[in-house]
């Protein structure tokens, strides 16, 4: 598998580390145990297009949000995770 890092370009799988489902956001402080439980344990396990977090640890160290089909492994988009660097904030 190859992932097009928005910063580095296309790179091979070995440079990346997988985390998983990128759909749900971390509950705010004060969230209930049930909400946090859902966030931590009840991840999406889609057979098809899925939004996921990947880490380009073997490259620019950016966390990426990757849209990937779990049936075919085809990747349709890659974007920086919310706060990569000061990039968005700066421009």
């Amino acid at each position: 598998m190859r992932i097009v890092c928005p910063f580095c370009g296309e790179r091979e799988l070995g440079e990346f580390t997988y985390l998983g489902d990128a759909k749900s956001a971390r509950p705010a402080a004060g969230a209930s145990e049930d909400e946090v439980f859902d966030y931590v344990y009840m991840r999406d396990n889609v057979a098809g297009p899925m939004s996921e977090y990947w880490y380009h640890g073997g490259g620019c160290r950016a966390w990426l949000k990757v849209a990937r089909n779990t049936l075919t492994h085809e990747i349709s988009s890659v974007e920086p995770a919310a706060g990569v660097g000061a990039k968005q904030a700066a421009r």
Partner: protein
Amino acid sequence: MTSSQPYRLVSGGLIDRAAPLGFRFDGKSFAGFQGDTLASALIANGVKLVGRSFKYHRPRGILTAGSEEPNALVELRSGARREPNTKATTAELYDGLEAASQNRWPSLRHDLMAVNQLFAPIFVAGFYYKTFMWPARFWEAVYEPAIRRAAGLGRAAGVADPDHYDKAWAHCDVLIAGSGPAGLAAALAAGRGGARVILCEEDFALGGRLLADGGMIDGAPAAEWITRTLAELAALPDVRIMTRTTLFGVYDGGTYGALERVNDHLLSPPEHQVRQRLWRIVAKRCVVAAGAIERPIVFAGNDTPGVMMASAMRTYVARYAVTPAKRIALFTNNEDGWRTVETALGAGLQIAAVIDARPDVSAERRALAAKAGFAVLNGSVSGVEGGKDGVRKIAVSLTGGARAEVEADGLAVSGGWNPAVGLTSYHRGRPKWQDDIAAFVPDGAPPGMVAVGAANGAFGLGDCLRQGFAAGAAAAQSAGRSGNAGTSPTADEEAFSLTPLWHVAGKGKAFVDYQHDVTASDIELAQREGFESVEHLKRYTTLGMATDQGKTSNVAGLAIMAALSGKSIPETGTTIYRPPYVPVAIGAFAGHHRDENFHATRLTPSHHWAAEQGAVFVDTGLWKRAQWYPRAGEKDWLESVTREVKAVRSGVGFCDVSTLGKIDVHGPDAGAFLDRVYINTFSNLAVGKARYGLMLREDGIVYDDGTTSRLAEDHYFLTTTTAKAGLVMQHLEFCRQVLFPEFDVQLTSVSDQWAQFSIAGPSARELLKQVVDESEDLSNEGFPFMGAREVALHGGIRARLFRISFSGEMAFEISVPARYGDALVRNLMLAGKPFGVTPYGTEALGVMRIEKGHVAGPELNGTTTAADLGLGKMMSTKKDFIGRVMAGREALVAPDRQVVVGIKPVDKTRRLRSGAHIIPKGETPGPDNDQGYVTSVCFSPVLDQWIGLGLVERGRERIGEIVHAHDPLRGEDYDVELCSPVFYDPDGGRQRG
């Protein structure tokens, strides 16, 4: 014919007669030529019997001339380089080659294991599932060893492979598999179009079927066209042709696997060179021109040596100038088979007869037969007479029911062609059935890939050239190259006519899968017993599971199954195609990464100094760390470690702790950020101070710990454990980039920037004073416990100094820029001489942390909570932090959890061992009273006894209780006392000192 190679034609072929080669097969010496394969050289010498089959030990010869060979498998080379199951048909001949037949005893000709054929009526498909069940223990003792010995073909060397392998990456616009007419045409078009091209050819010669079948291209003989084309390709700057290279798999994102047999054609690889190289090829487009595989027809005796695929027969005659037989019969169901007749006649060989299963044979063919003086029989081969010395006579069932016999010493068989659909199907694609050629052809392919020519079911030369060229040009274009591809080479069209024929009924064993001895009647049995799904058929009979992966057998097998179950072949379907296309040596997949090069090694800044001191090193992750520093006269590690501990506790010692993960946390929000990732608060840490921090995972379990210091308002220096350094960095980046992007914080790993040493012991300050500039105040007031700041060293070097202690002694950690680490230890040794300074290793470090009750890896085992570790009070209730909520789940705060406690044997002379379990005293150990275990142990020089830490149910409430340490693995049982985990200086006076 030359006398030493009686079956070598006097002229012709693509062999180099000026380069004779000697080789041995089963100990006997033979000669061949450069350009031969082992198979062609054996044929040249009249060797027909090459191997024995898997189950029945039937004599077998050479069936094919390629990587689909099921029969002619040998042990190639000898000693540590012995390679079992090597196909004689692809093994390139070299001078001094040694090969041996396999799966026979005592010899190939007189194989006593052939007695298995007597039991053939019992050894049907799946027979072993029905027997060998009683008595139960006989399986491991009697039946299984016998089966295991009988199974498996060749013998592995059994000793380390002496050769080297490596792996490399390549990148191109257009990758082409195969150098036949379609592949070369594709390369030409893509290369002219300006694309970066890689063409992989598994053979050592380029041309594919053209090498044997010839033909006319652009009005010239094929050989001329090949020469011309190769010259043009060589002149293109970015076309790379890789021979002896098999494209074996396609993976995601346009990554392909290929194996280059760099030096397999030599006796052994030249110095500094590898035997084989694994290529990971990244290609925008791939053109599969991998050709097709001719398929056998299943009839009784079809495994007799001398029965050969028709295309292989003419390959041997035309390409290698050898004669597999002197009087050849052809059994075909298609027009292509007749090429073998033409080739054989052209080489002056005799044709015994052609048995053609098609209802109509063209007048042209009949005229050829009449001219050459052989009969054309309309019908099928129903039996073969012969044995290990080859074919003698062929029984024919004529259309209409009459029978005939043909005397011949070789039988060429053509049942049609199966496109090589492997590569196009490896993404779980299923090929589709094409009626006119009665074969499966690709039905789509992985992204970016297209099949052309015979691999796409187009068998005519003209078609191959046209499809290959068009695909090459299109691939270049879609890769963004816009050069002019020019015009396609052309050749006359050829008609391909075929009447499907899979199985001829007859008496005797008719093999579908030669190597696994799967017969037509095995398939019938499988169908009878309900193993009708092709996957069940495969698994029950082992059809297609041999080293050839059913390249010659799968389609015939499922065609027979289809007929039996009354379904069509496409309804019956294929099994899933799996890579690799040809078996690939495990060594090649490992490449450089074997033995001591399995993983990289990390060395600390003081490594070479420690090695000079004779330190013993231990692997910690990728690190080599000094474990202890033995001195002359010390009888064992324990004596060395005890000395090191005592030296620290009574004087001063130092230890390289550079392996700790070190992270610069910068930015105005650094403190707030750390508050989120640690359970305790860091935003209120004063500049110039250090604090111990504990991190949880989001599920509430302890993740990592370490000391973090505030060096400036907007700069913290965070340390992690050695084991988690990389993972914590990843975690913090996740927190920074994903969870808390609102914080202005920047992270950098500085693990390698700083050489860090712990300097510990009552004399630590005195030692440091020698090294640090006089202006620095190291007094308790000027630099109290948990202080952290930058200091100047004698000689102008700047260092970071931390007054932290893992040992429980007055201690500092000092960081210097890494290239000065070596100088620092040497200076410490120099300056420390008056104090008896002692370098200590990780063992002494561990002893002192256990004496102090500090938790480490064995306690931070991924299942313990902060409270389990006795650190529950650190959890802030005033802020959000990672893991806060999940840590509160009922089972994680249950009162009966196993928590960290100190443990010491009641008998002070007793050794305590990690992994011993804790059972209430006086009870019989069982699952219900297994209350915990010993996590860490050491011999405490201070207490003069073995002590340890453990995780014990309600441990903290039970201090003083005598319990039982149960260690059945090591046959030990003894009483221990649960005690405070802090064995040494419990009020901490020494470290604050």
